[in-house]
Symmetry: C2
Subunit: 469 residues, 2 copies
């Protein structure tokens, strides 16, 4: 325990410097979805490999078909009897685009510390939470552990990808090609939220995701709506109608077969969630809303953790500049995603959506689809040894004991670790619901960053002591 | 007649130089809807006033609340007995925006002459047809007439506005403030099409227009569709649903009261239109379409000349860049226009639309409307003296006799001339249906430009001889 105490003290002592390091990382514009930023993505990978090498990992940038990966190994303690537990830490160094840029209060890639009226401090900038701040909590824990003890309490592999925000197109072949190197006893993932500011959480369920881009075309050029209006098909109108048809009056998705594989929440899970005392009004109120907009008759927690959705994430067509232009556009497009639960099949839902669009396409119109990732939902066990270990370690660090929660977002790698490497995952993250990830003014609480580092030190220490099975 | 012949010969002789002058005018980027181009609009007005002064008009740039107007006067022949007929020529020097810029084969504001495989030549660039090329046909006719005869055959006022493409916000107060100066026996307007390449046309009916921009807002920031998807209102989905509701399955507009004032086509008009021998397949085929997309059971000519429409001219919301972003946008907007016929009331239709949107707005959502112009439809007489005069003059110039047609577009000034100045209008234009006005690669046939000039010389000559009543 004296050893852990000195590691925790070291983390506290070096907090300012750890913030500086995170700022360096956040200044790199690693927007993976936009090919213009490929160079920045590589620089980010190189920065991380360099930092991990500096603290004693054997680290390298590993090329993939897309943005490069970072792999780093540390053998853990030497001279101990028996097998050393082996964990793989997964994170992603890429970030979301920054638009609408005009809504940012600060430059997205000029990170800063901001003190709030209540005295709390936060790190602001793109990637502060998702996922640069979160992944650096683990790196900083390792740095302090090695600095204080000369090693790590268990064997650690760090695996960082650069395409998580753009559907991870290179991940699967990369996992297959590096199966041996990336297999461990358990994967630790830091890309999720706490329950609230005082209550750490382990996420045990994640929704899946299907991303689709649909382009509808009609005339072979933009038309004058005076000359052709009334006679020519209008792609915006057609696309809008299709989107409007995607939900019924009760908020249910109308795609044929969409609810195949969707189950009602098991009673034990419902009990756990009920005990969380979730405040629907506060959850919606933090973003200026007051009425749940999803499926009628479902609680908000069900709507965001246990029910599937269809969302339009973007749409554009015709004249969108200042003023007005009486044009009938030749084409319009939308980016649409589906969140999946239980055993919904991403491939079948993609096909059902495409058929749904094609059936609604009038004469003279054509459609083009672009796939943007797909992964099923994930349910992790509620009672594994590593989960119990982590729960205790987290409860030691934070004001309130750790809880187990669901999650509305998607972390497809969790399913692939299981499927391809036979490896379970532990999802522990220190984000908060108001971190505005993917949005302007993304932030990460300084307390998340500081106590997140301490939490990982505790978890690594406990795993080194207790193992993972 | 010898006098007219020499004017026509002068026009033929100076065609190249008249093209050069039009090119000068087209190089000025007078995009009225975008405030960034206000300076270019003023330069364009100054260029025109300068050119009209140079040929003998008393011309000036007249300030308005928005982009400036150009007013020019020529007293016509001196020393003739009795009252000289007085015409007002109206045109507009502003142009549409150029996006999508990537679809242009040439720079929009670098006009050029292009020879086609069939040997015809065309002027390409923004404004070549709408309306710089068209208005210059009249200016060139005046130039040649004055050069050959020392004067014009009738009194001519030229009135050019710079806000036609952006709803003419300053026109009405300007007309009221300059009622005396702008009143004439008849207005001549050159902003319409021929029936086909060989057949000149006088437009006797125009649809009205209501332009609306609607902005739907929900959460007070962009949201992560994983965390909030299923619980948060999505403005794109809401806006799409509203747009989808605007038409029924038969293509009719569903706004309450929308068809109030819409009449069936009178038999005599139907007869005239039937005799035109309109080729629906060719009309749609020129833009890559084959099936009329408007109200079921209506001919294409009815759909574009005699039936009202609701069109979405632009839409945008959420992430529209490369790749994918799982965001629920805080807002989405659409630009929507209605084409009006017969006695549909623009104000009532605007109100009906706004009520329609508000009724469909779910909880937590707000809406904002921006007005972009409104004008009723116009029906001009089929048998006025000036119309007969122009019809004969046009028939003398072109291979086939002039026909009277409807028009799907809107020229609101026609109604205002009648209402405010008690002045009728004669709509003669030399555009063709494939001129791609408002679209990339706008063009104006060189034959339109050359024979358009000759047509105006003939019409002015005939009005000088026969008067307008």
């Amino acid at each position: 325990m004296a050893q852990l105490d000195s590691v925790l003290a070291c983390l506290d002592l070096n907090l300012d410097r750890s913030v500086e390091r995170l700022f360096e990382l956040m200044r790199l514009k690693s927007i993976s979805t936009d090919p213009d930023y490929a160079g920045e993505c590589r620089k980010t990978a190189e920065w991380l490999a360099g930092d991990l090498s500096a603290i004693g990992f054997s680290a390298r940038v590993a090329d993939s078909a897309g943005h490069p990966m970072v792999i780093a190994h540390h053998a853990g303690p030497s001279g101990v009897a028996g097998r050393v537990p082996h964990v793989l830490f997964y994170g992603h160094y890429d970030v979301q685009p920054v638009d609408p840029i005009e809504l940012w209060d600060t430059e997205p890639f000029s990170p800063a510390l901001k003190t709030m009226p209540d005295g709390t401090r936060r790190i602001v900038g793109r990637g502060s939470a998702d996922d640069k701040g979160q992944l650096m909590t683990f790196v900083e824990a390792c740095r302090a552990y090695i600095a204080e003890t000369g090693s790590l309490p268990c064997r650690v592999t760090i695996f960082l990808e650069g395409e998580e925000e753009s559907g991870s197109p290179s991940l699967l072949p990369f996992l297959d090609a590096h199966r041996e190197e990336l297999s461990a006893d358990v994967a630790l993932i830091c890309d999720t939220n706490m329950w609230d500011r005082d209550t750490p959480a382990i996420s045990t369920g994640l929704r899946g995701l299907v991303g689709e881009e649909v382009v509808v075309r009609a005339a072979d050029k933009d038309l004058h709506s005076g000359y052709f209006g009334g006679a020519a098909a209008n792609p915006i109108r057609i696309l809008s109608k299709i989107i409007g048809d995607l939900h019924d009056a009760d908020g249910r998705v109308t795609l044929p077969g969409f609810y195949d594989g969707v189950e009602e929440l098991p009673d034990d899970v419902r009990t756990i969630w009920d005990e969380l005392g979730f405040d629907e009004a506060a959850f919606l109120g933090q973003v200026g809303l007051s009425v749940p907009a999803g499926e009628r008759g479902r609680t908000v927690l069900e709507q965001v953790w246990a029910r599937p959705t269809a969302e339009v994430n973007g749409i554009e067509g015709g004249y969108t500049g200042k003023g007005f232009k009486t044009v009938i556009a030749a084409e319009a497009f939308a980016k649409i995603s589906f969140r999946l639960v239980f055993s919904q099949d991403p491939a079948r839902i993609r096909e059902s959506f495409r058929a749904f669009v094609r059936e609604r396409l009038p004469a003279d119109c054509s459609v083009e689809f672009h796939e943007h990732g797909g992964s099923p939902a994930i349910q992790l066990p509620f009672d594994s040894a590593v989960l119990r270990t982590a729960r205790e370690a987290l409860s030691d660090e934070w004001p309130k004991p750790a809880v187990m929660i669901g999650m509305g977002g998607s972390i497809p790698v969790v399913g692939e670790f299981k499927r391809r490497l036979g490896m379970g995952s532990l999802l522990v993250g220190f984000g908060l619901g108001d971190d505005r990830i993917h949005s302007p003014n993304e932030k990460y609480e300084l307390s998340s960053y500081a106590k997140g580092q301490r939490s990982w030190a505790r978890i690594l220490d406990a795993i080194g002591r207790d193992g993972v099975a």
